[in-house]
Every structure is written in C-alpha cells, then in structure tokens.
Symmetry: C2
Subunit: 346 residues, 2 copies
C-alpha cells in the first residue's frame, strides 16, 4: 500500500513520525508492504512554496491509498486576514479527496476520567462516534465581503446530506443501533432539508433508532447525558463545534483520532489535536492520537482489522500503564511513548 504522510506544522512532524514508526513495525511483523512518501501542507508548505496545498501534495494524496496528517497552523501564519492561511490547505485537501464523512470516536479511558472536566459518574459508559459532514455547508459556500457587510452561505444538497447520513446509519447498525441527527430545523432551511432527508434514509435502516436533536440541546445533552449516545451525525459547522466539545470530555485531546472518509479514496487520518506550537520540536507531544489515527487508517483504508486492533490494544495498554506525556500527567517524551506502544504490540 502507498501511504502519503503530511507532517504539517508544530508538533505535526513529531507525532506523524511516531505513527509511521508504529506502522512500519506492524508492516514488518504482519508481512505487509507499506510505502511512505512525505509531502508539505499548511504553514510549512506556505513557507516552502507559497501555497498551503501545493499541486504536488494534492496529486500525491489523490494517488495514495490513504493519507496520514499531523497538524496544520501556528502563530506564524495566524493572521485571519492573510491571503494565504494553513487551514486553507486542509480544507482544499478535504474537498480534493472528497472525504465527506469525518468520524470522531469518543471513549473515556478510566485512567483519564479524573482529568476530564466531567464528573466521573457521567463518563461511565460514554462511547459514541460523531460523524461530521466535512465537504459542504458554510465552509464551502459562497462568501462575500465589502467594507460594511459580509455573508457566508450554507448550502446542502440532498445528495450531500444523504451520503453522510448513510455512513452514520451503517456505523450505527454495527454498533448500538441508535443514531442522533443534529440540526437546527426550527430556524434553518438547510436543517429542515437535513431532517427530512434523515427521515427518508432511516427507512433503509429499520434496525437503527433515529432521534433528532437541535444543536443547542445537543450541546447541553452531551454534558448532562453523554452515555446516552451511540452515533451522532451532523453538518460541517455544527460538527466542528460539537466534536471539540466532545473532545473536552475525554480528559486529553492528545489521545483522540479521526478518520475522514469518502467514496472513492481511502481517506485522510489525523489526530484531532492542533499543532501545539508551544511544545513543538521538544519531543514532548503525545503521539497516541496520531498512532490511533494510523490504526483507523489500517481499518478503514486497508481493511486490516486485526492489525488495527493490535495497535489500539497497545495504545490502551500505554494509556493504562504509562509511560505518559505531560498532558496525561507524566514526564515521558514522544519517542518514549512511541517505543512503549511498539513494545506493547508484540
């Protein structure tokens, strides 16, 4: 398999390198042939080429079986009025790959319960996946700006809504058979179309129980009843907000992986944490989110379920027994944590 790595900015290169080391170890042990090629994205790409997603990067990603990304962005490129920004590279890549469904699984490891802002009893049994629509909505709609006024259009077609909901229903039918569709149907037309489409798609999945929630209620319920949810599906911007809220529950962002899936490409895999410029280059970042994202890559892009499960078990073991990086209350380095995961693989 041909895998493209996009280390990006800040701690991106360090955590991506750790994940690649884990993948190489798994490949050697299980007799797979993974070829890796590294390309520039984000701020690093702006510095090198002027563009946040150089053509060479885009073409390599399109040709690859899957893409593993570190993180993009940082204070150096953070002026929101700048013409070229690192985030544009990520948004353009999502669009180019057609990865319309962003999956963010959330479980709270018992060892992290004490680090979560939520009370421990609320966290018991929390185990949900947010499926965020990733290539539509206000992110990609028409925009206007003059001196006195600005607009952003949120647009959705039935096709766009349907395909991401199908992903959610398929996932739910393999999991807890409950799907919560989140919208703001009491105010937005796009949400009314979303809700109507969810009702239609639900007919094809009679085994899954469909519930609708308004996004404001959901922001509340995620805190008061987090263990009630199984699969949560929502549009791009609501998903952006709700996944970060959900991530805060986990006790550390450093552990959380994500997979962005399309129809015709193996997908884009990245830890949900950012580029953390304050600790970049110090061998201090937690690589477990990137390593867990590599596990998702094996599962979803390459169909290597057993290998994915081996990595996930090794990550669990390290979360439970250490060594831990600072975000988990330890003093271990990125490479020490990587080595511990590799040791736990065997």
């Amino acid at each position: 398999a041909h895998l493209v790595t996009l280390p990006g900015d800040g701690i991106g290169p360090e955590v991506t390198a750790a994940a690649v080391d884990v993948l190489k170890h798994v490949a050697a042990h299980h007799g797979h042939d993974f070829r890796f090629s590294e390309h520039a994205i984000g701020g690093a790409a702006i510095d090198a080429t002027g563009a946040p997603l150089p053509d060479a990067t885009r073409d390599a990603c399109l040709a690859a079986d899957a893409v593993l990304l570190g993180a993009v962005g940082g204070p150096k490129w953070s002026d929101p009025n700048a013409k070229v920004r690192p985030e544009q590279g990520l948004l353009a890549l999502r669009a180019a790959l057609g990865v319309f469904a962003n999956l963010r699984p959330l479980k709270v490891h018992p060892r992290l319960a004490e680090r979560s802002p939520l009370k421990t009893e609320r966290l018991k049994d929390v185990d949900f996946v947010v499926v965020r629509e990733l290539t539509g909505g206000a992110y990609f709609g028409a925009k206007t700006r003059d001196r006195d006024r600005a607009t952003d259009e949120c647009a959705y077609t039935v096709t766009e809504i349907e395909r991401v909901l199908r992903r959610g229903f398929e996932l739910a039918s393999q999991r807890g058979r409950r799907l919560t569709s989140v919208d703001k149907a009491n105010v937005l037309e796009t949400s009314r179309l979303w809700r109507h489409t969810a009702e239609q798609v639900a007919r094809d999945y009679p085994e899954v129980h469909l519930e609708h929630q308004l996004v404001d209620s959901m922001a509340m319920l995620m805190l008061t009843q987090p263990s009630r949810y199984d699969v949560i599906v929502t549009e791009n911007l609501f998903g952006d907000i709700l996944t970060d809220e959900a991530a805060a529950l986990a006790g550390s962002l450093g552990l959380l992986p994500s997979a962005s899936l399309g129809d015709s490409h193996g997908g884009l895999y990245e830890p949900i944490h950012g580029s953390a410029p304050d600790i970049a280059g110090r061998n201090a970042a937690n690589p477990l989110g990137a390593i867990a994202s590599a596990a998702l890559l094996l599962r979803h892009a390459l169909g290597l379920e057993a290998e994915a499960a081996v990595i996930e078990a090794a990550v669990e073991h390290v979360v439970a027994h250490g060594p831990w990086t600072r975000d988990l209350g330890g003093t271990a380095s990125t490479t020490q944590v990587r080595d511990a995961v590799i040791a736990a693989l065997d």
Copy 2:
C-alpha cells in the same frame, strides 16, 4: 411602568405568574406603579389566532416599557415542516423590538455544584456573561429551498456587529475587564468582519482586555477553563449553541435568566428554560429563572437596581435554603417557591 407579559406555552404561564406576583410585591413595598397586560404568543397564539405573534401582541410589546416572556413551543406545534411554528413568534418579536443583545449571566450556586455535570473544582469562581447577537446572522438571512437543495445565508453588517460588541465592552468595563470575542475567522467571512470590527471597537475601551477565540475552541474551553471568562460576545447561532452549553454547567436550567436588550426599547426578559410540556400545568416548574428574569427587567428596563438586587438576594436565599422544586432535588411546588421568595424579600 407598563409591563407586557407573554406567558406562552407549557410551563410558561405558571412561571410568569409567579414572577408577576413577585414584581407586584416589590412594587407595593417600594412604592412603584407597575401595570401589567397579558398577551398571546407562540403555540397559544397559533391556537387562538392562527399567528405565532399576533399584531395585537406585537403592538402591545412595542408600546410597553418592557416585556416578560415565559416560554414558547411544545410537541403540539413541533413539526419543523409546519408552515407556522411557535418559535417564529419569538424570532419575529426579537426583530420587532430590535433587541440585538441577549445577555445570559452564568454563576454556579454552591448548592448546585453537585448537580452540575462538571467537577466542583472547575466550577469554583465561574462567573461570566454571554452576550449573544440576537437579530442577525443565519436566523434572519435569506433562505432558499427546493426539492434537492437548501441554503441559509448568514449576513452581518459592521453596524450590527459593532452595537452588540459595544454592549459587551460596556459590560466588561463594569465587571472583570476581559472580553472574549468568539468567531470562526479561519473559515467564515462574517467572522473575519466580526474580528476586524472587534479590534476597532476595542480601541474605545482601552481598560478592557480583548481576546479572540474560535467557536470550536470556545466550546472546549468553556468546559476545561470556565472560570477564565468574564464577558463572552458572539454571533447569533454560535451564541445559541454556547449559551446552552454554558447553561448545562449550572446544574439546573431552572434558575437561569436572560435579558434581550436593544437601543430604543426596554427589552425582553425570559428564563432560558423551555416550555417543559411534560410538567406543564402541575404547579411543579421552577419559577426562579422567571423571577430572576424579572430582576433583570427592573435593572435594565427600569433602572431599579436596588429592587433588582433585593429579588436576586431572595432568589439566592431560596436556592441555598429551599424550598426546592424537583429540578433542584426537592418536592416543592411552583407557588411554594414563589411564596418563599416573597417571604425572603422583606
């Protein structure tokens, strides 16, 4: 002063009646003359007149010194595809009154800390106000819908952004002198205009420290560092989501008030809880949110700071010592809680 009450749906009439009783008591004791007139809104108005905001209601509200609202909505009118919905009455009223700044103060009473989903140590010192823009954005933008596609436009002018930010800065300069402006400037044009305008307005308030946060980060920080915030200002839809998330921290929605303020009208005051149809008509709803909203009315619409403070102290007393309704772990009725507040006023 002439006050219009809009009891609305579900528990709205019960909690509004309790708040009016408290206001009458305060008026008698402090020698004020409050005239009350009641009008229909929401589902009740749809049933009575076919319209969620009848002209008579709108005209009475426009002529009043302030408006006290209960709650709107309920399963009876909840089909999101219905032509006429209770929420439209509330949205139309906000627009008609020009109440562009929705203030939601959040403090967690020590007695409620144990009911909050957040760990008690995180709640220590939480004391912030969210100022939500209320008459612009995707709520009031152009919408389209055909069979296969829908759109919602989010639009903001500098004037709209500036006036709500000024409210925020003025509030911050009387409080902790920190203002957090929340946007999604890495993706949305309206957010870039918002951020630029915030920088401009900030020059007039050198005593206030301005910080920008992205809405996704804010959804996280509200959980991990809630005591860091003083005044949080944001656009309509982000505010809808973040204020509900914030409310979940408080341990019970039943206590939380809100004030919606404009330039030329005394404002609209309402508890943040909904119409709670499951307990409507049973004398079981917590009236403290409506009573606290009446206190905000006295402060903001009528300038009666001392009277507002007396009500707030009485509410605090009842929260601390009971009687409590079921949402606070007690068994008291709405009218028992009202009576306890009135007894604590003197």
